[in-house]
Protein backbone atom coordinates (compact mmCIF):
# COMPACT_ATOMS: atom_id res chain seq x y z
CA UNK A 1 0.00 0.00 0.00
CA UNK A 2 1.34 3.40 -0.78
CA UNK A 3 1.77 5.94 1.94
CA UNK A 4 -0.41 8.34 0.04
CA UNK A 5 -3.28 5.91 0.04
CA UNK A 6 -3.02 5.41 3.77
CA UNK A 7 -2.84 9.14 4.28
CA UNK A 8 -5.91 9.58 2.16
CA UNK A 9 -7.77 6.96 4.10
CA UNK A 10 -6.84 8.53 7.40
CA UNK A 11 -7.74 11.96 6.17
CA UNK A 12 -11.05 10.66 4.92
CA UNK A 13 -11.73 9.50 8.44
CA UNK A 14 -10.73 12.93 9.69
CA UNK A 15 -13.05 14.48 7.13
CA UNK A 16 -15.80 12.21 8.39
CA UNK A 17 -15.21 13.40 11.93
CA UNK A 18 -15.24 17.00 10.77
CA UNK A 19 -18.45 16.48 8.82
CA UNK A 20 -20.21 14.78 11.70
CA UNK A 21 -18.94 17.42 14.10
CA UNK A 22 -20.19 20.16 11.85
CA UNK A 23 -23.58 18.49 11.70
CA UNK A 24 -23.66 18.33 15.44
CA UNK A 25 -22.61 21.90 15.94
CA UNK A 26 -25.24 23.10 13.55
CA UNK A 27 -28.09 20.89 14.62
CA UNK A 28 -27.91 20.72 18.39
CA UNK A 29 -29.92 22.95 20.60
CA UNK A 30 -28.21 22.27 23.84
CA UNK A 31 -25.13 24.36 24.41
CA UNK A 32 -23.15 21.40 25.64
CA UNK A 33 -24.12 19.33 22.65
CA UNK A 34 -22.97 22.09 20.34
CA UNK A 35 -19.69 22.03 22.16
CA UNK A 36 -19.50 18.29 21.61
CA UNK A 37 -19.88 18.86 17.90
CA UNK A 38 -17.02 21.27 17.95
CA UNK A 39 -14.91 18.82 19.95
CA UNK A 40 -15.60 16.28 17.29
CA UNK A 41 -14.28 18.57 14.62
CA UNK A 42 -11.18 19.10 16.69
CA UNK A 43 -10.95 15.35 16.98
CA UNK A 44 -10.65 15.26 13.24
CA UNK A 45 -7.95 17.90 13.46
CA UNK A 46 -6.05 15.75 15.93
CA UNK A 47 -6.19 12.85 13.54
CA UNK A 48 -5.16 14.94 10.58
CA UNK A 49 -2.36 16.53 12.57
CA UNK A 50 -1.00 13.16 13.53
CA UNK A 51 -1.21 12.03 9.94
CA UNK A 52 0.51 15.19 8.82
CA UNK A 53 3.39 14.49 11.11
CA UNK A 54 3.69 10.91 10.12
CA UNK A 55 3.31 11.24 6.38
CA UNK A 56 4.27 14.76 5.46
CA UNK A 57 6.99 16.08 7.73
CA UNK A 58 8.08 13.82 10.52
CA UNK A 59 11.41 15.59 10.64
CA UNK A 60 9.67 18.73 11.91
CA UNK A 61 7.91 19.01 15.27
CA UNK A 62 5.35 21.48 13.91
CA UNK A 63 2.64 18.90 13.29
CA UNK A 64 3.08 17.47 16.73
CA UNK A 65 2.79 20.95 18.16
CA UNK A 66 -0.36 21.33 16.16
CA UNK A 67 -1.83 18.34 17.94
CA UNK A 68 -0.79 19.77 21.28
CA UNK A 69 -2.35 23.12 20.46
CA UNK A 70 -5.51 21.40 19.28
CA UNK A 71 -5.71 19.58 22.60
CA UNK A 72 -5.29 22.87 24.45
CA UNK A 73 -7.92 24.50 22.36
CA UNK A 74 -10.29 21.67 23.21
CA UNK A 75 -9.63 21.96 26.86
CA UNK A 76 -9.80 25.72 27.01
CA UNK A 77 -12.93 25.94 24.98
CA UNK A 78 -14.57 23.25 27.00
CA UNK A 79 -13.74 25.08 30.18
CA UNK A 80 -15.07 28.35 28.86
CA UNK A 81 -18.10 26.56 27.53
CA UNK A 82 -18.94 25.26 30.97
CA UNK A 83 -18.39 28.67 32.48
CA UNK A 84 -20.61 30.35 29.94
CA UNK A 85 -23.29 27.72 30.36
CA UNK A 86 -23.26 28.19 34.10
CA UNK A 87 -23.42 31.95 33.72
CA UNK A 88 -26.37 31.96 31.37
CA UNK A 89 -28.14 29.31 33.36
CA UNK A 90 -27.78 31.42 36.46
CA UNK A 91 -28.97 34.51 34.66
CA UNK A 92 -32.00 33.09 32.89
CA UNK A 93 -32.35 29.37 33.51
CA UNK A 94 -31.54 28.52 29.96
CA UNK A 95 -29.23 25.99 28.51
CA UNK A 96 -30.46 26.01 24.96
CA UNK A 97 -29.02 28.33 22.38
CA UNK A 98 -32.42 28.93 20.82
CA UNK A 99 -33.71 30.38 24.01
CA UNK A 100 -31.26 33.24 23.99
CA UNK A 101 -32.60 35.39 21.20
CA UNK A 102 -33.21 38.76 22.78
CA UNK A 103 -30.40 40.29 20.79
CA UNK A 104 -31.08 40.45 17.11
CA UNK A 105 -31.76 42.70 14.15
Amino acid sequence: MTAELVLQIVLTVAAGLIGVGLFGALSQQSIVMVMMGLELVLNGVLLAGGAAWYFIAPELPDAQMLVVVALVVMAVEMAMGFAVTVAIYRARQVDMVDMATDLRG
Binding site: I31, A48, A52, I56, D62, A63, V72, A87, L103
Partner: protein
Protein backbone atom coordinates in the same frame (compact mmCIF):
# COMPACT_ATOMS: atom_id res chain seq x y z
CA UNK B 1 16.49 23.09 11.88
CA UNK B 2 17.78 25.33 14.55
CA UNK B 3 19.71 24.07 17.42
CA UNK B 4 17.10 23.75 20.14
CA UNK B 5 19.55 25.04 22.68
CA UNK B 6 20.17 28.17 20.66
CA UNK B 7 16.73 29.38 21.56
CA UNK B 8 17.48 28.84 25.19
CA UNK B 9 20.74 30.76 25.36
CA UNK B 10 19.36 33.83 23.64
CA UNK B 11 16.19 33.72 25.63
CA UNK B 12 17.28 36.40 28.06
CA UNK B 13 17.92 38.95 25.38
CA UNK B 14 14.92 37.82 23.44
CA UNK B 15 12.73 38.15 26.46
CA UNK B 16 13.88 41.73 26.71
CA UNK B 17 12.70 42.26 23.17
CA UNK B 18 9.26 41.38 24.48
CA UNK B 19 9.42 44.02 27.17
CA UNK B 20 6.18 45.73 26.18
CA UNK B 21 4.33 42.44 26.41
CA UNK B 22 6.08 41.54 29.63
CA UNK B 23 5.00 44.82 31.11
CA UNK B 24 1.43 44.05 30.23
CA UNK B 25 1.72 40.61 31.70
CA UNK B 26 3.32 42.06 34.77
CA UNK B 27 0.51 44.55 35.02
CA UNK B 28 -2.01 41.74 34.76
CA UNK B 29 -0.36 39.52 37.31
CA UNK B 30 0.53 42.35 39.63
CA UNK B 31 -2.88 43.85 39.33
CA UNK B 32 -4.55 40.60 40.19
CA UNK B 33 -2.32 40.04 43.19
CA UNK B 34 -2.84 43.59 44.34
CA UNK B 35 -6.56 43.19 43.87
CA UNK B 36 -6.63 40.17 46.11
CA UNK B 37 -5.60 42.32 49.03
CA UNK B 38 -7.47 45.46 48.11
CA UNK B 39 -10.73 46.46 49.71
CA UNK B 40 -13.70 46.60 47.40
CA UNK B 41 -13.94 50.34 47.11
CA UNK B 42 -10.28 50.96 46.67
CA UNK B 43 -9.79 48.93 43.59
CA UNK B 44 -8.86 52.10 41.77
CA UNK B 45 -5.37 51.10 42.83
CA UNK B 46 -5.58 48.18 40.52
CA UNK B 47 -6.89 50.43 37.84
CA UNK B 48 -3.92 52.69 38.35
CA UNK B 49 -1.53 49.80 38.17
CA UNK B 50 -3.13 48.50 35.04
CA UNK B 51 -3.13 51.87 33.35
CA UNK B 52 0.45 52.47 34.33
CA UNK B 53 1.33 49.08 32.90
CA UNK B 54 -0.36 50.00 29.66
CA UNK B 55 1.37 53.32 29.44
CA UNK B 56 4.69 51.75 30.33
CA UNK B 57 4.14 49.13 27.68
CA UNK B 58 3.37 51.78 25.11
CA UNK B 59 6.42 53.71 26.15
CA UNK B 60 8.60 50.64 25.96
CA UNK B 61 7.22 49.93 22.52
CA UNK B 62 7.85 53.47 21.42
CA UNK B 63 11.44 53.36 22.63
CA UNK B 64 12.32 50.33 20.54
CA UNK B 65 10.16 51.47 17.68
CA UNK B 66 12.81 52.59 15.32
CA UNK B 67 14.98 49.53 15.89
CA UNK B 68 15.45 47.44 12.79
CA UNK B 69 12.91 44.68 12.32
CA UNK B 70 13.78 41.43 14.04
CA UNK B 71 12.27 38.03 14.59
CA UNK B 72 12.76 36.50 17.99
CA UNK B 73 11.99 33.13 19.56
CA UNK B 74 12.93 31.08 16.56
CA UNK B 75 11.28 33.55 14.26
CA UNK B 76 7.89 32.97 15.81
CA UNK B 77 7.60 36.55 17.06
CA UNK B 78 8.10 39.41 14.66
CA UNK B 79 9.04 42.86 15.84
CA UNK B 80 8.69 45.34 13.04
CA UNK B 81 6.73 48.43 12.13
CA UNK B 82 3.38 46.69 12.14
CA UNK B 83 3.99 45.16 15.53
CA UNK B 84 5.20 48.47 16.86
CA UNK B 85 2.11 50.28 15.69
CA UNK B 86 -0.16 47.66 17.19
CA UNK B 87 1.79 47.63 20.45
CA UNK B 88 1.43 51.37 20.91
CA UNK B 89 -2.14 51.66 19.72
CA UNK B 90 -3.38 48.66 21.64
CA UNK B 91 -1.64 49.61 24.85
CA UNK B 92 -2.93 53.14 24.74
CA UNK B 93 -6.39 52.02 23.70
CA UNK B 94 -6.44 49.53 26.51
CA UNK B 95 -5.55 52.28 28.94
CA UNK B 96 -8.36 54.41 27.57
CA UNK B 97 -10.77 51.47 27.67
CA UNK B 98 -9.86 50.76 31.28
CA UNK B 99 -10.44 54.37 32.15
CA UNK B 100 -13.71 54.36 30.23
CA UNK B 101 -14.85 51.17 31.96
CA UNK B 102 -14.07 52.59 35.36
CA UNK B 103 -17.31 54.53 35.34
CA UNK B 104 -19.41 51.41 35.24
CA UNK B 105 -17.01 49.13 37.11
CA UNK B 106 -15.93 51.23 40.07
CA UNK B 107 -16.69 49.36 43.23
CA UNK B 108 -17.75 46.22 41.41
CA UNK B 109 -16.66 43.13 43.34
CA UNK B 110 -14.82 41.87 40.31
CA UNK B 111 -13.40 45.16 39.19
CA UNK B 112 -9.87 43.91 39.53
CA UNK B 113 -10.53 40.86 37.47
CA UNK B 114 -12.08 42.94 34.74
CA UNK B 115 -9.02 45.11 34.39
CA UNK B 116 -6.74 42.12 34.43
CA UNK B 117 -8.80 40.44 31.76
CA UNK B 118 -8.71 43.56 29.66
CA UNK B 119 -4.97 43.60 29.94
CA UNK B 120 -4.71 39.95 29.01
CA UNK B 121 -6.93 40.51 26.02
CA UNK B 122 -4.70 43.36 24.94
CA UNK B 123 -1.71 41.10 25.29
CA UNK B 124 -3.37 38.51 23.12
CA UNK B 125 -4.18 41.16 20.57
CA UNK B 126 -0.58 42.22 20.34
CA UNK B 127 0.40 38.59 20.02
CA UNK B 128 -1.97 38.23 17.10
CA UNK B 129 -0.24 41.03 15.31
CA UNK B 130 3.26 39.94 16.18
CA UNK B 131 3.02 36.22 15.62
CA UNK B 132 5.11 34.80 12.86
CA UNK B 133 3.88 31.28 13.34
CA UNK B 134 0.46 29.79 12.75
CA UNK B 135 0.42 28.00 16.07
CA UNK B 136 1.34 31.15 17.88
CA UNK B 137 -1.46 32.80 15.97
CA UNK B 138 -3.88 30.19 17.28
CA UNK B 139 -2.59 30.63 20.80
CA UNK B 140 -2.89 34.38 20.47
CA UNK B 141 -6.39 33.89 19.15
CA UNK B 142 -7.27 32.04 22.31
CA UNK B 143 -5.69 34.66 24.50
CA UNK B 144 -7.37 37.46 22.65
CA UNK B 145 -10.76 35.74 22.82
CA UNK B 146 -11.18 34.13 26.19
CA UNK B 147 -10.88 37.20 28.39
CA UNK B 148 -13.37 38.92 26.14
CA UNK B 149 -15.99 36.21 26.64
CA UNK B 150 -15.86 36.96 30.31
CA UNK B 151 -15.85 40.71 29.75
CA UNK B 152 -18.85 40.54 27.44
CA UNK B 153 -20.91 38.85 30.11
CA UNK B 154 -19.36 40.71 32.96
CA UNK B 155 -22.59 42.24 34.12
CA UNK B 156 -24.12 38.75 34.22
CA UNK B 157 -27.53 40.09 33.37
CA UNK B 158 -29.77 38.41 30.83
CA UNK B 159 -28.50 40.28 27.82
CA UNK B 160 -24.89 40.17 28.93
CA UNK B 161 -24.87 36.43 29.30
CA UNK B 162 -26.64 36.02 26.03
CA UNK B 163 -23.96 38.17 24.44
CA UNK B 164 -21.32 36.01 26.04
CA UNK B 165 -23.00 32.86 24.87
CA UNK B 166 -23.16 33.99 21.30
CA UNK B 167 -19.70 35.42 21.37
CA UNK B 168 -18.28 32.28 22.87
CA UNK B 169 -20.07 29.85 20.59
CA UNK B 170 -19.17 31.85 17.54
CA UNK B 171 -15.60 32.13 18.72
CA UNK B 172 -15.30 28.45 19.48
CA UNK B 173 -16.75 27.57 16.13
CA UNK B 174 -14.45 29.86 14.20
CA UNK B 175 -11.54 28.72 16.33
CA UNK B 176 -12.28 25.20 15.19
CA UNK B 177 -12.44 26.36 11.60
CA UNK B 178 -9.14 28.07 12.11
CA UNK B 179 -7.65 24.84 13.45
CA UNK B 180 -8.89 23.06 10.35
CA UNK B 181 -7.25 25.73 8.24
CA UNK B 182 -3.96 25.47 10.09
CA UNK B 183 -4.08 21.71 9.79
CA UNK B 184 -4.63 22.05 6.12
CA UNK B 185 -1.58 24.26 5.76
CA UNK B 186 0.45 21.90 7.88
CA UNK B 187 -0.67 19.05 5.67
CA UNK B 188 0.48 21.04 2.70
CA UNK B 189 3.89 22.03 4.02
CA UNK B 190 4.52 20.29 7.28
CA UNK B 191 5.48 23.54 8.92
CA UNK B 192 3.85 26.47 10.68
CA UNK B 193 6.44 29.26 10.59
CA UNK B 194 5.65 32.16 8.29
CA UNK B 195 9.06 32.30 6.60
CA UNK B 196 8.96 28.59 5.75
CA UNK B 197 5.37 28.86 4.66
CA UNK B 198 6.26 31.75 2.41
CA UNK B 199 8.74 29.59 0.57
CA UNK B 200 6.76 26.36 0.58
CA UNK B 201 3.21 27.52 0.02
CA UNK B 202 3.62 28.61 -3.59
CA UNK B 203 4.22 24.98 -4.58
CA UNK B 204 1.51 23.55 -2.36
CA UNK B 205 -1.68 22.00 -3.78
CA UNK B 206 -4.26 24.68 -4.41
CA UNK B 207 -7.13 22.89 -2.69
CA UNK B 208 -5.24 22.48 0.56
CA UNK B 209 -4.05 26.00 0.29
CA UNK B 210 -7.55 27.32 -0.24
CA UNK B 211 -8.91 25.52 2.81
CA UNK B 212 -5.96 26.74 4.82
CA UNK B 213 -6.23 30.34 3.72
CA UNK B 214 -9.94 30.42 4.31
CA UNK B 215 -9.65 28.82 7.72
CA UNK B 216 -6.91 31.11 8.95
CA UNK B 217 -8.56 34.20 7.54
CA UNK B 218 -11.82 33.13 9.14
CA UNK B 219 -10.04 33.19 12.47
CA UNK B 220 -8.60 36.68 12.12
CA UNK B 221 -11.80 37.77 10.43
CA UNK B 222 -13.74 36.69 13.47
CA UNK B 223 -11.55 38.74 15.74
CA UNK B 224 -11.91 41.67 13.41
CA UNK B 225 -15.64 41.17 12.98
CA UNK B 226 -15.60 40.77 9.23
CA UNK B 227 -18.25 39.20 7.05
CA UNK B 228 -19.20 36.32 7.08
CA UNK B 229 -18.17 35.70 10.69
CA UNK B 230 -19.40 39.02 12.01
CA UNK B 231 -22.67 37.81 13.47
CA UNK B 232 -21.50 38.18 17.01
CA UNK B 233 -20.69 41.86 16.64
CA UNK B 234 -24.12 43.49 16.87
CA UNK B 235 -25.47 41.09 19.44
CA UNK B 236 -22.47 41.32 21.72
CA UNK B 237 -22.22 45.07 21.37
CA UNK B 238 -25.85 45.52 22.19
CA UNK B 239 -25.83 42.95 24.96
CA UNK B 240 -22.85 44.06 26.96
CA UNK B 241 -22.17 47.35 28.67
CA UNK B 242 -21.07 50.23 26.45
CA UNK B 243 -17.61 50.39 27.96
CA UNK B 244 -17.03 46.72 27.32
CA UNK B 245 -18.47 47.08 23.86
CA UNK B 246 -15.94 49.79 23.21
CA UNK B 247 -13.18 47.46 24.29
CA UNK B 248 -14.46 44.45 22.40
CA UNK B 249 -15.04 46.26 19.14
CA UNK B 250 -11.82 48.21 19.21
CA UNK B 251 -8.89 46.35 20.62
CA UNK B 252 -8.98 42.86 19.11
CA UNK B 253 -9.75 44.39 15.75
CA UNK B 254 -6.44 46.20 15.70
CA UNK B 255 -4.46 43.04 16.23
CA UNK B 256 -6.60 41.00 13.88
CA UNK B 257 -6.20 43.43 11.02
CA UNK B 258 -2.48 43.61 11.61
CA UNK B 259 -2.35 39.82 11.68
CA UNK B 260 -4.25 39.62 8.43
CA UNK B 261 -1.93 42.22 7.01
CA UNK B 262 1.08 40.13 7.98
CA UNK B 263 -0.50 36.95 6.64
CA UNK B 264 -1.19 38.51 3.28
CA UNK B 265 2.22 40.08 3.08
CA UNK B 266 4.23 37.05 4.18
CA UNK B 267 2.92 33.47 3.95
CA UNK B 268 0.09 34.17 1.52
CA UNK B 269 2.09 36.62 -0.51
CA UNK B 270 3.17 34.26 -3.26
CA UNK B 271 0.44 31.65 -3.30
CA UNK B 272 -1.06 30.75 -6.65
CA UNK B 273 -4.49 31.88 -5.47
CA UNK B 274 -5.89 35.36 -5.69
CA UNK B 275 -5.98 35.90 -1.96
CA UNK B 276 -5.90 39.69 -2.27
CA UNK B 277 -9.06 39.53 -4.32
CA UNK B 278 -10.64 37.31 -1.69
CA UNK B 279 -9.77 39.83 0.97
CA UNK B 280 -11.06 42.58 -1.24
CA UNK B 281 -14.35 40.76 -1.56
CA UNK B 282 -14.50 40.30 2.19
CA UNK B 283 -13.78 43.97 2.59
CA UNK B 284 -16.48 44.89 0.11
CA UNK B 285 -19.02 42.62 1.76
CA UNK B 286 -18.18 43.86 5.22
CA UNK B 287 -18.48 47.52 4.46
CA UNK B 288 -21.61 47.11 2.42
CA UNK B 289 -23.41 44.81 4.79
CA UNK B 290 -22.35 46.81 7.81
CA UNK B 291 -23.58 50.02 6.33
CA UNK B 292 -26.83 48.65 5.03
CA UNK B 293 -27.67 46.95 8.27
CA UNK B 294 -26.98 50.11 10.22
CA UNK B 295 -29.39 52.10 8.07
CA UNK B 296 -32.50 51.71 10.13
CA UNK B 297 -30.99 51.02 13.51
CA UNK B 298 -32.41 53.02 16.34
CA UNK B 299 -30.34 51.40 19.05
CA UNK B 300 -27.13 53.38 19.33
CA UNK B 301 -25.08 50.37 20.35
CA UNK B 302 -26.24 48.28 17.43
CA UNK B 303 -25.73 51.20 15.12
CA UNK B 304 -22.15 51.51 16.25
CA UNK B 305 -21.73 47.77 16.08
CA UNK B 306 -22.66 47.69 12.44
CA UNK B 307 -20.52 50.70 11.85
CA UNK B 308 -17.56 48.76 13.19
CA UNK B 309 -18.35 45.98 10.76
CA UNK B 310 -18.19 48.46 7.94
CA UNK B 311 -15.00 49.93 9.34
CA UNK B 312 -13.45 46.50 9.16
CA UNK B 313 -14.29 46.57 5.51
CA UNK B 314 -12.22 49.70 5.04
CA UNK B 315 -9.42 48.23 7.13
CA UNK B 316 -9.41 45.07 5.07
CA UNK B 317 -8.93 47.14 1.94
CA UNK B 318 -5.41 47.82 3.02
CA UNK B 319 -5.00 44.18 4.00
CA UNK B 320 -5.89 43.26 0.44
CA UNK B 321 -2.97 45.21 -0.91
CA UNK B 322 -0.53 44.26 1.82
CA UNK B 323 2.91 43.82 0.37
CA UNK B 324 1.83 45.13 -3.00
CA UNK B 325 2.40 48.82 -2.41
CA UNK B 326 4.62 50.93 -0.23
CA UNK B 327 1.63 52.95 0.78
CA UNK B 328 -0.05 50.05 2.56
CA UNK B 329 1.85 50.23 5.83
CA UNK B 330 1.39 53.96 6.37
CA UNK B 331 -2.27 53.51 5.54
CA UNK B 332 -2.57 50.76 8.12
CA UNK B 333 -0.69 52.79 10.68
CA UNK B 334 -2.86 55.83 10.42
CA UNK B 335 -6.17 54.07 9.97
CA UNK B 336 -5.67 51.76 12.92
CA UNK B 337 -4.79 54.63 15.20
CA UNK B 338 -7.59 56.79 13.90
CA UNK B 339 -10.13 54.04 14.13
CA UNK B 340 -9.15 53.14 17.68
CA UNK B 341 -9.46 56.70 18.90
CA UNK B 342 -12.67 57.46 17.09
CA UNK B 343 -14.43 54.24 17.90
CA UNK B 344 -13.56 54.52 21.56
CA UNK B 345 -14.90 58.05 21.48
CA UNK B 346 -18.16 57.00 19.89
CA UNK B 347 -18.73 54.26 22.43
CA UNK B 348 -17.77 56.65 25.19
CA UNK B 349 -20.67 58.77 24.02
CA UNK B 350 -22.94 55.79 24.55
CA UNK B 351 -21.34 55.00 27.87
CA UNK B 352 -21.93 58.54 29.06
CA UNK B 353 -25.66 57.87 29.07
CA UNK B 354 -25.86 54.13 29.63
CA UNK B 355 -29.61 54.14 30.14
CA UNK B 356 -30.24 55.79 26.81
CA UNK B 357 -30.43 52.94 24.37
CA UNK B 358 -32.14 54.54 21.42
CA UNK B 359 -31.08 57.49 19.37
CA UNK B 360 -33.90 59.67 20.57
CA UNK B 361 -33.25 58.81 24.21
CA UNK B 362 -29.64 59.65 23.73
CA UNK B 363 -30.47 62.95 22.10
CA UNK B 364 -32.84 63.79 24.91
CA UNK B 365 -30.27 62.90 27.52
CA UNK B 366 -27.40 64.71 25.90
CA UNK B 367 -29.31 67.61 24.47
CA UNK B 368 -28.36 70.01 27.19
CA UNK B 369 -24.72 69.27 27.03
CA UNK B 370 -23.54 71.12 23.95
CA UNK B 371 -19.97 70.00 24.22
CA UNK B 372 -20.90 66.35 24.45
CA UNK B 373 -22.88 66.76 21.25
CA UNK B 374 -20.04 68.58 19.58
CA UNK B 375 -17.60 65.86 20.52
CA UNK B 376 -20.01 63.18 19.39
CA UNK B 377 -20.39 64.93 16.07
CA UNK B 378 -16.63 65.06 15.72
CA UNK B 379 -16.34 61.36 16.51
CA UNK B 380 -19.18 60.23 14.28
CA UNK B 381 -18.13 62.39 11.39
CA UNK B 382 -14.68 61.09 12.11
CA UNK B 383 -15.97 57.58 11.57
CA UNK B 384 -17.42 58.73 8.28
CA UNK B 385 -14.06 60.09 7.37
CA UNK B 386 -14.79 63.76 7.39
CA UNK B 387 -11.69 65.86 7.43
CA UNK B 388 -9.65 66.81 9.29
CA UNK B 389 -10.09 63.85 11.62
CA UNK B 390 -7.68 60.97 11.80
CA UNK B 391 -9.96 58.53 10.02
CA UNK B 392 -10.14 60.91 7.10
CA UNK B 393 -6.39 60.79 6.71
CA UNK B 394 -6.59 57.06 7.21
CA UNK B 395 -9.25 56.70 4.59
CA UNK B 396 -7.30 58.82 2.22
CA UNK B 397 -4.23 56.69 2.76
CA UNK B 398 -6.23 53.48 2.49
CA UNK B 399 -7.94 54.57 -0.69
CA UNK B 400 -4.67 55.63 -2.18
CA UNK B 401 -2.94 52.44 -1.22
CA UNK B 402 -5.81 50.29 -2.48
CA UNK B 403 -5.88 52.03 -5.80
CA UNK B 404 -2.14 51.80 -6.04
CA UNK B 405 -2.45 48.10 -5.31
CA UNK B 406 -4.68 47.70 -8.33
CA UNK B 407 -8.08 47.55 -6.70
CA UNK B 408 -9.59 50.78 -7.98
CA UNK B 409 -13.07 49.26 -8.04
CA UNK B 410 -12.86 48.69 -4.33
CA UNK B 411 -12.01 52.35 -3.84
CA UNK B 412 -15.11 53.39 -5.71
CA UNK B 413 -17.22 50.97 -3.74
CA UNK B 414 -15.73 52.22 -0.52
CA UNK B 415 -16.46 55.80 -1.51
CA UNK B 416 -20.07 54.96 -2.21
CA UNK B 417 -20.25 53.09 1.07
CA UNK B 418 -18.86 56.06 2.90
CA UNK B 419 -21.72 58.14 1.65
CA UNK B 420 -24.17 55.47 2.69
CA UNK B 421 -22.62 55.37 6.13
CA UNK B 422 -23.12 59.08 6.47
CA UNK B 423 -26.83 58.48 6.36
CA UNK B 424 -27.07 56.56 9.60
CA UNK B 425 -24.52 58.64 11.44
CA UNK B 426 -26.62 61.63 10.56
CA UNK B 427 -29.66 59.88 11.90
CA UNK B 428 -27.95 60.04 15.23
CA UNK B 429 -26.32 63.43 14.87
CA UNK B 430 -29.38 65.26 13.66
CA UNK B 431 -31.64 64.77 16.68
CA UNK B 432 -28.78 65.32 19.05
CA UNK B 433 -27.67 68.51 17.39
CA UNK B 434 -31.15 69.83 16.84
CA UNK B 435 -32.05 69.88 20.49
CA UNK B 436 -32.70 73.47 21.36
CA UNK B 437 -30.54 75.50 23.65
CA UNK B 438 -31.82 76.37 27.00
CA UNK B 439 -32.58 80.08 26.70
CA UNK B 440 -29.79 82.27 27.86
CA UNK B 441 -31.48 83.26 31.08
CA UNK B 442 -32.28 79.64 31.81
CA UNK B 443 -35.74 80.69 32.87
CA UNK B 444 -38.07 78.60 30.80
CA UNK B 445 -37.22 75.01 31.25
CA UNK B 446 -40.25 73.28 29.93
CA UNK B 447 -38.60 69.95 29.32
CA UNK B 448 -38.19 68.83 32.90
CA UNK B 449 -40.49 65.89 32.47
CA UNK B 450 -39.25 64.77 29.11
CA UNK B 451 -35.68 64.09 30.12
CA UNK B 452 -35.81 61.22 32.50
CA UNK B 453 -33.37 58.87 30.88
CA UNK B 454 -29.70 59.09 31.52
CA UNK B 455 -29.86 61.82 34.00
CA UNK B 456 -26.67 60.63 35.55
CA UNK B 457 -23.87 61.72 33.32
CA UNK B 458 -20.82 59.57 33.83
CA UNK B 459 -17.69 61.61 34.11
CA UNK B 460 -15.14 59.18 32.77
CA UNK B 461 -16.97 58.52 29.49
CA UNK B 462 -17.52 62.20 28.93
CA UNK B 463 -13.87 62.90 29.49
CA UNK B 464 -13.00 60.03 27.20
CA UNK B 465 -15.36 61.34 24.58
CA UNK B 466 -13.83 64.78 24.62
CA UNK B 467 -10.31 63.45 24.65
CA UNK B 468 -11.13 61.16 21.76
CA UNK B 469 -12.67 63.97 19.78
CA UNK B 470 -9.72 66.22 20.35
CA UNK B 471 -7.25 63.44 19.70
CA UNK B 472 -9.07 62.51 16.54
CA UNK B 473 -8.69 66.02 15.19
CA UNK B 474 -5.16 66.36 16.47
CA UNK B 475 -4.11 63.07 14.99
CA UNK B 476 -5.68 64.12 11.72
CA UNK B 477 -3.87 67.39 11.73
CA UNK B 478 -0.71 65.83 13.05
CA UNK B 479 -0.90 62.70 10.99
CA UNK B 480 2.33 63.66 9.31
CA UNK B 481 4.06 63.58 12.64
CA UNK B 482 2.59 60.22 13.58
CA UNK B 483 3.46 58.72 10.25
CA UNK B 484 6.94 60.13 10.34
CA UNK B 485 7.41 58.38 13.65
CA UNK B 486 5.85 55.04 12.85
CA UNK B 487 6.82 54.69 9.22
CA UNK B 488 10.21 56.28 8.95
CA UNK B 489 11.50 56.95 5.49
Amino acid sequence: MNDPMGGMTGAGEEALALLPELLLLLGAGGGLLLGLWTPQHRQWRVRAVVIVACLASAAAAAVVFSDPPTRVFEETWVIDGTTGIVRIVVALSAAVAVFLASSSLAGHPRETEAYVLMLLGALGTIALAASGDLLLLVAAYLLASIPLYALAGFAKDASGTEATLKYYLMGAFVGVLMMVGVTSLVLATGTTGYPELATLLPEAPAALLAVGVIGVLAGVGFKAGAVPVHFWVPDVTAGTTPAMAAYITTIPKIGAVAAAFRLLAEPFGGVPLDVPLLVAVIAALSMTLGNLAAFNQTDVSRLLAYSTVSQVGYLFMVVAVAGRTDLALPALAIYLAGYAITNLGAFAAVAAFPEARSISDWAAAAGRNRWVVVSLVVCLLGLVGTPPTAVFVGKLAVFTATWDGGLAWLVVLAAVNTVASLFYYLRWIAPAAATRDVPAGGGTDGGASTVTVGRAVRTAPVVTLHVAAIASVLLGAGSGLWLAVVVPG
